[in-house]
């Protein structure tokens, strides 16, 4: 690169991998975050998939500013993922974190050399493995049925109560129902984790999903068990922020498809995400993993399970750090 070309472009790095002929052919088909042609930077037995990106968009200030805007962040994330996912079928790829940008290719080479002793064992460990995401939600729809039954049982004893006491009793019952729903979901989550753990070689707990983006993500309906629709006002057992946002919005509607995701349990979206785990699974057990995890959630009211993937091993691209926190299941 000439001096002026260096100033106009920077190098966006996507992943570390082996510099094979296959890898070279694969990157040749890929375009990156700036719609640029992706290529390999090689040094000995390691390579990085990189692409030249416009400096005015990717220098520090512009990048920081861009990352604060959701549409820009989304475009960057999807562009990055597009390259990583395009390389994942090669079998061993170390995805880099979003927005890893260098001034030139020489600096990428230097990092590959400096970190070689870390990258090679990691590539070895991840080769032939895929990542699955397993998310467990409480399911308000499933529990409304049980709640309704409990209401019917208790109704006889409440005829003697004043309206105020009856109201309070009903409220207590609802709260107990919500707690019960959460505990049942937590037990199911533990069961699923056990089932999944038996087939996986690694597990990483991500923080449960909250907020608007989580509302957009949950949903879809696959071969779930059927539950009768209970009273619409049965309440959200989660009761947390996950219950707000877009109730029954189109984005999370029952007819929508969860791309790359399958759900089991009651077929309605909603509820609180109580577990958001990633599992590293040998590729030859990938389908077995998915079906067994979904089966572990079958016939369990009050719980919805979503399996996403297979992913490139994003969640396992870090060397273990004993100090890191683990979410309780």
């Amino acid at each position: 690169m000439t001096e002026s070309a260096q100033r106009q472009h920077m190098v966006y790095a996507y992943a570390v991998l082996r510099p094979t002929a296959e890898a070279a052919r694969a990157v040749a088909t890929l375009r990156g975050v700036a719609d640029e042609q992706v290529g390999l930077v090689e040094t000995g037995d390691l390579a990085a998939a990189v692409g030249p990106v416009p400096a005015q968009e990717f220098e520090e200030g512009a990048l920081r500013a861009g990352l604060e805007e959701l549409p820009r962040l989304e475009a960057l994330a999807r562009g990055h993922h597009g390259v990583v996912a395009g390389l994942a079928p090669l079998g061993a790829v170390l995805p880099l974190r979003l927005a890893t940008v260098y001034r030139d290719e020489d600096r990428v080479r230097r990092v590959l050399q400096e970190r070689r002793d870390q990258f090679l064992p990691l590539l070895e460990r991840l080769a032939g493995h895929v990542e699955w995401g397993v998310k467990v939600y409480t399911d308000p729809t499933g529990f409304s049925t049980a709640d309704a039954a409990a209401t019917a049982d208790a109704a006889g004893g409440e005829e003697a109560l004043s309206p105020g006491r009856a109201y309070l009793a009903a409220r207590r019952r609802r709260r107990r129902g919500a707690e019960e729903a959460w505990h049942t979901a937590a037990r199911t989550a533990a069961r699923i984790a056990e089932e999944a753990g038996g087939l996986a070689v690694g597990r990483v707990a991500h923080r449960p999903q909250r907020g608007e983006l989580a509302q957009m993500a949950g949903g879809g309906t696959v071969d779930g068990t059927k539950h009768g629709g209970g009273p619409a006002d049965a309440g959200n057992p989660g009761g947390g922020t996950a219950g707000r946002g877009k109730p029954g919005g189109e984005a999370a509607g029952g007819s929508s498809v969860v791309p790359g995701g399958e759900t089991a349990g009651a077929g309605k979206p909603g509820g609180e995400n109580i577990a958001n785990d990633a599992y590293l699974v040998p590729a030859d057990r990938a389908e077995e993993f998915r079906s067994r995890v979904l089966a572990a959630a079958e016939g369990r009211p009050g719980v919805r399970v979503e399996v996403t993937g297979p992913w490139a091993p994003y969640s396992f691209a870090l060397p273990p750090e004993p100090a890191a926190r683990r979410e309780p299941v």
């Binding site: 920077m10 296959e22 052919r25 694969a26 088909t29 220098e59 920081r64 604060e68 959701l70 994330a77 999807r78 993922h81 597009g82 390259v83 996912a85 395009g86 090669l90 170390l94 995805p95 880099l96 974190r97 979003l98 927005a99 890893t100 940008v101 260098y102 001034r103 600096r107 990092v111 990258f119 990542e131 690694g202 597990r203 990483v204 991500h206 923080r207 449960p208 999903q209 909250r210 907020g211 983006l213 989580a214 957009m216 993500a217 791309p259 995701g261 958001n276 990633a278 590293l280 996403t308 992913w311 994003y314 969640s315 396992f316 691209a317 273990p320 004993p322 890191a324 926190r325 979410e327």
Partner: protein, 69 residues
């Protein structure tokens, strides 16, 4: 995988339709963090955590936890 992937296949593999939040869990908490002559890595972008916190609650420096042995 053969090298016969055309651009269409590559785009399809890219799984553009995965949920953004699942993607951000992985891209902001996972992936190898490089240092050195790095211009910028998202690990340093505190502003993202602040301004997008309401939308992307999971962004958290304490994650991800280590894989199980």
């Amino acid at each position: 995988m053969s090298g016969a992937l055309d651009e269409e296949d590559a785009r399809a593999l890219a799984g553009r339709e995965v949920a953004l939040i699942d993607l951000l869990d992985r891209l902001l908490q996972g992936g190898v963090v490089l240092a050195g002559d790095l211009v910028l890595s998202i690990a340093d972008v505190d502003l993202v955590r602040i301004d997008l916190r309401a939308v992307i609650a999971p962004v958290d420096a304490g994650h991800p936890a280590p894989p199980l042995p």
